[in-house]
């Protein structure tokens, strides 16, 4: 083989390695930052709580058949049994799903008109409007939720304004209620609903609506029979993008909600930090994940179909 030929082969190999590295990188990322921590959490959930540091046992044993066997024998499903035996956890999970579902519906009701208005705005305004939706991200999420305490508390901005305008005599008791939680969630998650909806509506060919009108559909019927069905991928994407993290939401119910607002994220936090029952907390985390796998699978399915069906 000539020198040039050998170099050619080597270059080909390098290209092929580089080609393999591209899909391997995100895969590696997932293994290191998702799969490994998840395995650790599973392991902790199968352990028993202990007054030690770390507060569970058995610890990972190494190097020796007896030790490994003892380690495996130390694992059990006790935490999961507690979890399903105590209706507090079942209620927390159900309540989380309910709050997430109602919030998603509210987000859709607020987000769709916003996204629609943005998509129909003059082209030169649209980048500015998108920026306005994104701007809140420049401030810390925590600070923005805290700001709502200032607005909603009995002597807060909202009640002062209402009193000044003479609308309400007695202050509204919003803070530490489920209503406050909904307000906080809708506020915080709105961009995640608006942006996917906007992406779909903005691409919608305006001549489709004209065609519907031309064929005899008045404006509102053209909207229902053309715009709405074509916005479905955006509705699904936005809803799941909101629903999934809201189920596990901790900060908003903790800061704005009262003691009666039961959410699985809060329960998890309490088990972890107040009760220091790491195995039980890990079990809660795994159940939460199991609840969310269903909508994630739906989301992936819809996305895949959209990619295939795309023009």
């Amino acid at each position: 083989m000539t020198q040039a030929g050998r170099e050619g082969v080597r270059a080909g190999l390098a290209t092929r390695l580089a080609g393999a590295a591209v899909p391997a990188l995100p895969f590696l990322w997932l293994v290191v930052f998702f799969l490994v921590p998840f395995v650790i959490v599973v392991k902790i959930s199968l352990s028993d709580p202990a007054s030690a540091m770390p507060p569970y046992r058995p610890l990972f044993a190494c190097c020796g058949w007896e030790q490994v066997r003892g380690f495996i024998e130390g694992l059990d499903f006790e935490s999961f049994e507690t979890l399903f035996g105590d209706d507090l956890y079942v209620r927390a999970a159900a309540s989380s799903v309910r709050i997430a579902a109602v919030s998603t519906l509210l987000l859709l009701l607020v987000g769709f008109p916003m996204a629609y208005a943005m998509a129909r705005a003059p082209v030169r305004w649209r980048p500015a409007l998108v920026a306005v939706v994104i701007v809140p991200f420049w401030t810390s999420f925590l600070i923005r939720v805290y700001a709502w305490i200032g607005i909603l508390k009995p002597e807060g901005l909202l009640n002062q304004s209402l009193a000044a305008l003479g609308i309400a005599d007695a202050p509204l008791m919003l803070l530490n209620t489920e209503t406050a939680v909904y307000i906080g969630i809708v506020y915080a998650y709105l961009p995640f609903m608006v942006l996917p909806l906007y992406a779909v509506l903005e691409k919608l060919d305006p001549s489709l609506l004209e065609a519907a009108e031309d064929l005899g559909a008045p404006g509102w019927r053209a909207f229902w029979s053309v715009t709405v069905p074509l916005a479905v991928p955006g509705v699904v994407a936005g809803s799941l993008l909101c629903f999934i993290p809201i189920v596990g939401e901790f900060v908003i119910p903790d800061l704005l909600g009262g003691s009666e607002t039961l959410m699985i994220g809060r329960t998890l936090w309490a088990e972890f930090f107040s009760n220091r029952d790491w195995p039980l907390a890990s079990a809660v985390a795994i159940v939460l994940l199991a609840i969310l796998v269903i909508p994630i699978v739906i989301y992936r399915d819809v996305e895949a179909r959209r990619m295939e069906g795309g023009r």
Binding site: D205, L215, L230
Partner: protein, 379 residues
């Protein structure tokens, strides 16, 4: 010009009563831009009518005013004797085939065609029957259950046509109907559309920037330029007797020889100019031109004849040398640089497969044309 092979086509028989569509001094502005500038136009029932012009000439705006997507700032749009002002698009008895086709991507071919019928609240059986009829008309029965993205460009065009025709509109509006098709398909579709229009008897109003397309399909053409209609007539009238340089140049190829009117010689105008100091003779009615007025003599390339020796006889004669030749298969185009400096294009039909002693570059040639082959254009 009344022999059997006359290029001037018979005008479609007009009904004695009022036209189906009438634009009356219609104007439309978008901000600073005047899109349509006082257009008056009558279109008869059953006509295949073409609005032809370069992009931005206002032809699409004019059509959209008939569909109801734009309201005129002034003037009236009348359909079947009824002023359309204030009637929303969904109540107008016209349907449009959009340039992008605007097929509903979430609906099958059948559902696309049925869309308009459903809006009318017809019975299911009736809709199904009509859809089947339309599918037959555009020969798309095998594609009934497909979605638009599963169709070829030509098939989509036919679905759009079927959908627009399904409601039996009084007028079918077609916005650049063949624009998205490749050349071969475009030519086939031209004939199909023409044949379909003749069979259905529906009035077709087509917007296009393609003069060849307009000439091939239309009974009458309105040529538009900068918001105004500059000429209305049959394709042959517009091609053979253009009223302005713009029309002459927009439809087909033309040689323009600049000059001044010297006077009249019997039935003919005499125009003198740099290309012909002794004067060119051009047939034309005795109207509208003053002595000394600056004009152009317009001659189509196929109406000029090329000679090696100066021909004897009657007509206009120019001399020069061959600048270049292009062989196009059916035609050859010869560019001749005249002794006076202008360049003219002469086209010749390649009637035989081989030519004895073909014309070569730099060869000295003579170009003649008959007085009735040319037109004097003032504007």
């Amino acid at each position: 010009m009344s022999d059997l092979l006359s290029p001037v086509r018979e005008m479609p028989t007009r009904s004695a009563n009022s036209p189906l569509i009438r634009f009356e001094r219609v104007a439309k502005r978008f901000g600073e831009v005047t899109a349509v500038d006082g257009v008056s136009l009558d279109i008869q029932e059953g006509e295949f009518f073409c609005l032809l012009g370069p992009s931005g000439c206002g032809k699409t705006t004019l059509m959209r005013m008939l569909a109801g997507f734009e309201e005129p700032d002034s003037g009236r749009v009348v359909l079947g004797g009824e002023d359309l002002a204030g009637t929303p698009p969904h109540r107008r008895p016209v349907n449009m085939m959009f340039q992008s086709y605007a097929l509903f991507p979430h609906l099958t071919v059948t559902a696309n065609i049925a869309f308009g019928l459903k809006q009318e609240g017809r019975r299911k059986a009736e809709i199904a029957e009509r859809v089947a009829e339309m599918l037959r008309l555009v020969q798309l029965e095998p594609c009934a259950t497909r979605y638009p993205h599963q169709l070829s460009g030509g098939q989509r065009q036919r679905v759009a046509l079927a959908r627009a025709l399904a409601k039996r509109p009084k007028v079918l509006l077609l916005d650049e109907p063949l624009g998205a098709l490749d050349r071969k398909l475009r030519e086939e579709t031209q004939f199909e559309l023409k044949e379909m229009q003749a069979r259905l008897g529906t009035t077709f109003l087509v917007v296009t920037h393609d003069q060849q397309e307009a000439m091939a399909m239309a009974d009458r053409i309105a040529v538009m330029d900068r918001g105004r209609v500059v000429q209305v007539g049959s394709p042959s009238e517009i091609y053979e007797a253009p009223v302005s340089r713009f029309v002459a140049q927009f439809l087909g190829d033309v040689n323009l020889l600049e000059g001044r009117v010297r006077g009249r010689e019997g039935e003919l105008w005499v125009v003198e100019g740099p290309a012909a100091p002794e004067g060119l003779l051009v047939e034309g009615a005795e109207t509208g031109l003053a002595q000394g007025q600056e004009v152009a003599v317009a001659v189509r390339p196929e109406k000029m004849v090329l000679h090696r020796e100066p021909p004897t006889g009657w007509g206009n004669l120019l001399s020069g040398e061959v600048a270049d030749l292009s062989y196009l298969g059916d035609w050859s185009v010869v560019r001749v640089r005249l002794d006076t400096g202008e360049t003219v294009r002469v086209s010749r039909q390649n009637a035989t497969r081989s030519v004895q002693a073909p014309i070569a570059r730099r060869e000295r040639v003579y170009v003649s044309f008959r007085p009735d082959a040319a037109v004097v254009l003032a504007p």
